[in-house]
């Protein structure tokens, strides 16, 4: 039943000794029925002698009734499972297959490649060390190839083997192989694939599957089986960061409290200091208990029981970590979410989020964008449907102890569960802010430390008001690039100065040269830019100054957040209104503001209820200024 080995018959004890030391490799196969995926798996099972004669006899019988090879032995029939699926001639769920060679035991997650089965592929990829992506040599890189590659890289698989199949149908052409390989490299450079390989095969006939193919002498690399046996996966495990989520507390008697769990990453040693999260209590590892006896150290992915020196309170959902290497503890975070249920994801709806050994209720507060698995394009979307993937902001009712998924699969992943039906709705991978390519805003982010308290000035607001003869307020000039915001802001500052008032301009471009030099012009980055500017304005207002902001500030919601930050009676929105065509022409004529021309916002939401609206197409600067002055006097600001 296993692979061939003479040792089985001659020296079974030697054989067993050899096999007790085997390593486990899990891989996923991606491709559709047409790519010959089932054929390849059948071939691997068949060639590694994993098929019994009774099973084989059944398949030979099936090859005549169900096979696609005209009655000839069809290895694909070894792998397809359920009756209904067999009748349809397709596999529609993740199926797991097992085989072993002298070096390794293999678990194959066999997933279908159809567009609607992103869900299954993500499931299979979640536990895999390696992915085989099948390409039909006749068709080359297709949309589905891109889809499979994206999902595999999203799920953090480090090793990808592209098997270019059906080489027999293209006359074993090296040229065709080279072209497909180059095409694949072309788009794969956009993905995160640390280790990429290519092998030309003909699965139906076994070329380059187990034995090198004499029909492709130009190919000098390893065969598919030899690659699977030898690819180095030892460095894929994280032995750096100790994470021990407590799963169960073992209490056989009053004197013993053992914390049982699986070490999801790192190494734990007897006598070493540990910290219990979230309580942050510190202790030492007294014993590491197993039924085979205590051990001095244990490492991922072992399941052990830890006894601590001190009587600290620890329960399921807590995590043991090492001082100086502590994961994040967050209530709000960003994640890539794969939706897996017919019932669509709705931002704001309450779900359960299960991560490590803890389930926490919460919601997806924002769907930042949906990502098209075929083109990788990002687009705004109201929600996610079955098999759709999006970047989300998650808000939980309590904190989660987590790492970014790229660094730590086990502490960076979660599933989403429906609170009523208990169905598994989706799966998420936590994004690490430091490595995240996208910026984000920080309106709701808590300060870095909870022990911070504001200090009070010895100079009161009223004293400043009397000295400067003005109410310190913030005025936002919002409008499209070219609407005249900076021009009007500086003119106003000059006029106020002439009138003996104290005012200052915070101009978008100046802010971006310094304080916000790390920000670009995406929606979220514009939002963060306004937040920072508003925080500076708040400090200026405290100092008694009138603050004039010249910013595009295209979103109503962001402007509202700025108003909340500064206070409704201290923040005024003045809309500089001019048609887009006029603004664009002005920008072109000026020719100076290249950045802003390039960064014209995709969408500008005019304020619904501005405190003042100025038509900068029809009115001159002086006319506008007069209106602003009138407004400030009316409001008794000056």
């Amino acid at each position: 039943m296993s692979h061939h080995s003479d040792l089985i018959a001659t020296d079974i004890n030697a054989y067993l000794e050899q096999h007790e030391r085997k390593e486990l490799l899990r891989f996923i196969t991606c491709g559709s029925v047409d790519d010959g995926k089932s054929t390849l798996i059948g071939r691997l099972l068949y060639d590694s002698k994993m098929i019994y004669e009774d099973q084989l006899a059944k398949i030979e019988k099936d090859s005549i009734t169900h096979g696609t090879t005209g009655g000839q032995f069809d290895p694909a029939l070894l792998t397809d499972g359920l009756k209904a699926e067999r009748e349809q001639g397709i596999t529609i769920d993740v199926a797991y297959r097992y085989f072993s060679t002298a070096k390794r035991k293999f678990i194959i997650a066999d997933t279908p490649g159809h567009v609607q089965y992103t869900r299954n592929m993500a499931t299979g990829a979640s536990t895999a060390d390696l992915a085989i992506i099948l390409i039909d040599a006749r068709h080359g890189v297709l949309e589905q190839t891109r889809r499979h590659s994206f999902i595999v890289s999203l799920l953090g698989i480090k090793h990808i083997l592209v098997a270019i199949n059906k080489m027999d149908l293209v006359d074993f052409s090296e040229e065709i192989y080279d072209k497909i390989r180059d095409d694949y490299h072309g788009f794969a450079s956009r993905l995160d694939i640390p280790d990429l390989h290519f092998i030309p095969i003909a699965a139906l006939h076994g070329d380059n599957v187990v034995d090198p193919s004499p029909r492709m002498p130009w190919y000098v690399g390893s065969t598919l089986m030899s690659f699977l046996e030898n690819v180095y996966i030892g460095s894929d495990r994280n032995f750096e960061d100790l994470r021990f989520p407590v799963q169960y507390v073992i209490r056989p008697n009053l004197d013993y409290r053992g914390f049982a769990g699986t070490i999801t990453s790192g190494i734990i040693r007897q006598g070493e200091d540990v910290i219990v999260l979230p309580s942050k209590r510190q202790s030492k590892v007294k014993r590491i208990v197993t039924m085979d006896g205590d051990v001095e150290e244990a490492f991922t992915p072992m399941s052990v029981t830890v006894v601590l020196e001190d009587e600290v309170d620890v329960s399921r959902g807590d995590m043991l970590v090492r001082p100086g290497n502590i994961p994040k503890t967050e209530q709000n975070f960003e994640a890539m979410v794969v939706w897996m249920h017919d019932q669509p994801m709705i931002p704001g709806k309450q779900y359960l989020f299960k991560q490590t050994t803890k389930s926490i209720s919460g919601n997806i507060s924002t769907l930042r964008y949906q990502i098209d698995v075929n083109t990788l394009h990002r687009a705004p979307s109201p929600g996610l449907k079955l098999n759709e993937i999006g970047r989300c902001r998650i808000s939980l009712a309590e904190t989660m102890i987590m790492d970014g998924y790229r660094n730590n699969r086990a502490t960076g992943s979660f599933i989403i569960i429906d609170r009523i039906s208990n169905a598994t709705l989706g799966a998420g991978m936590i994004l690490d802010r430091k490595t995240s390519e996208d910026r984000e805003d920080h309106w709701e982010v808590e300060p870095g430390s909870s022990s911070l308290t504001p200090s009070l000035s010895k100079v009161s607001e009223d004293e400043r008001r009397v000295r400067f003869g003005q109410s310190p307020v913030t005025i936002l000039f919002t409008g499209l690039p070219g609407a005249g915001k900076s021009t009007l802001a500086y003119a106003l500052e000059r006029e106020l100065f002439e009138a003996g008032r104290a005012a200052t301009v915070l101009d978008g471009e100046n802010i971006r040269l310094g304080l916000s030099r790390d920000l670009g012009f995406g929606d979220e980055e514009r939002s963060e830019n306004l937040r920072r500017t508003a925080e500076v304005a708040k400090l200026m207002n405290h100092a008694g100054l009138i603050c004039i902001l010249a910013l595009v500030a295209p979103r109503e919601e962001t402007r509202r957040k700025a108003q909340e930050l500064l206070g409704a009676d201290q923040f005024f929105v003045i809309h500089l209104d001019a048609p887009q065509s006029v603004c664009q022409r002005r920008n072109q004529v000026a020719g100076e503001n290249k950045a802003e021309i390039a960064e014209f916002p995709t969408q500008y939401e005019p304020p619904q209820t501005p405190d003042l609206r100025l038509d900068t197409e029809k009115q001159s600067v002086a006319e506008c200024l007069a209106q602003v002055f009138e407004f400030l006097e009316q409001r008794q600001i000056i």
């Binding site: 993740v94 797991y96 869900r119 209490r251 208990v289 897996m340 039906s421 598994t424």
Partner: protein, 301 residues
């Protein structure tokens, strides 16, 4: 290879222990199905490891068809005594009264005494999770089954509507009446189980080892004469042969194989050189194509 390297068996062991602990943590009334065979022995061993030095915090359930081998009943008692386990024996009393002869009606006997019996036991004790020793490599329809396999209030499995299962994050939530079948050995193969039993020295029913036993040749297989309920048919003679069993079930339905294998390495050797799969010895599977899948939909383990 570094010192921080786990063999495949140790990795499988760690994963299974994780699964067993997860069930003990998240379900209010779990149970471990115990059929006395080698897979049950392996699963029970893993449960003992998972909670050491405490005992597993759930009972074992044996759905007894009353037709098991005598040696199996003896082994069951030994294990329960040795490890101080809480063992529930359940017999479908209604089925017993129907007095279905397994020699004549093998399929019906299994359905009533085993499948129906299991459902009755689960209903009676209101278990919300039940461990089973099934493996994905056993049979094609099992290849797609989840580790945590959801069953509705009628114990039905819907292969088209399974919960996606990612990483080692198991969705353990059920509503009242619903339950989960949990398969901690999902990713083990037959060879893995045997090898682990060998390495760990796990106690087994002696029937797995070859010994001289009284057998009768019937329907192409060797049936052991285990008690007086087995009546000889015309022309049949009881022979003493050196035989063993690759799989254990009800003795009238389980075929013996001629063998000289008296040690575990010899058993493994025999298995590796064998040309037929282990379920071949069971009468129940060979009826029709996809038969196991149909049984599973109805609630067979």
């Amino acid at each position: 290879m570094t010192r921080y390297h786990l063999t495949h068996l140790k990795q499988l062991e760690a994963e299974s222990i994780h699964i067993i602990r997860e069930v003990a943590s998240e379900f209010s009334n779990p149970v471990m199905l115990y059929s006395i065979g080698k897979d049950s022995a392996c699963m029970l061993w893993l449960a003992l490891k998972a909670f050491y030095p405490a005992k597993p915090p759930f009972p074992l359930l044996h759905v007894d068809t009353t037709w098991k081998f005598q040696a199996m009943y003896e082994h069951r008692s030994e294990m329960a005594d040795r490890f101080g386990l809480d063992l529930i024996r359940f017999v479908n009393e209604e089925g017993l009264q129907q007095n279905i002869d397994p020699f004549k009606f093998s399929g019906k006997h299994t359905t009533v005494m085993k499948t129906e019996g299991l459902k009755m036991a689960l209903n009676k004790y209101k278990f919300d999770a039940a461990f089973g020793g099934a493996r994905r490599d056993e049979e094609k329809s099992r290849a797609k089954e989840r580790v945590f396999s959801f069953r509705d209030e009628h114990h039905r499995w819907d292969p088209k509507n399974q919960r996606p299962e990612l990483w080692s994050l198991y969705n353990t939530r059920v509503n009242p009446g619903e339950s989960i079948r949990v398969f901690p050995l999902s990713n083990w193969t037959e060879l893995d189980v045997w090898q682990y039993i060998h390495l760990e020295n796990i106690p087994l029913v002696p029937l797995y080892f070859a010994a001289p036993r009284p057998v009768v040749h019937r329907n192409g297989i060797w049936i052991m004469v285990d008690d007086e309920r087995m009546k000889l048919r015309p022309g049949e003679v009881v022979e003493e042969k050196m035989v063993r069993f690759r799989t254990l079930g009800c003795y009238p339905l389980t075929g013996a194989v001629e063998s000289e294998a008296t040690t575990l390495p010899q058993i493994i050797q025999e298995m590796l050189l064998a040309k037929t799969s282990e379920r071949q010895g069971r009468l129940i599977d060979n009826d029709e194509e996809g038969s196991m899948e149909e049984k599973k939909r109805e609630g067979y383990f």
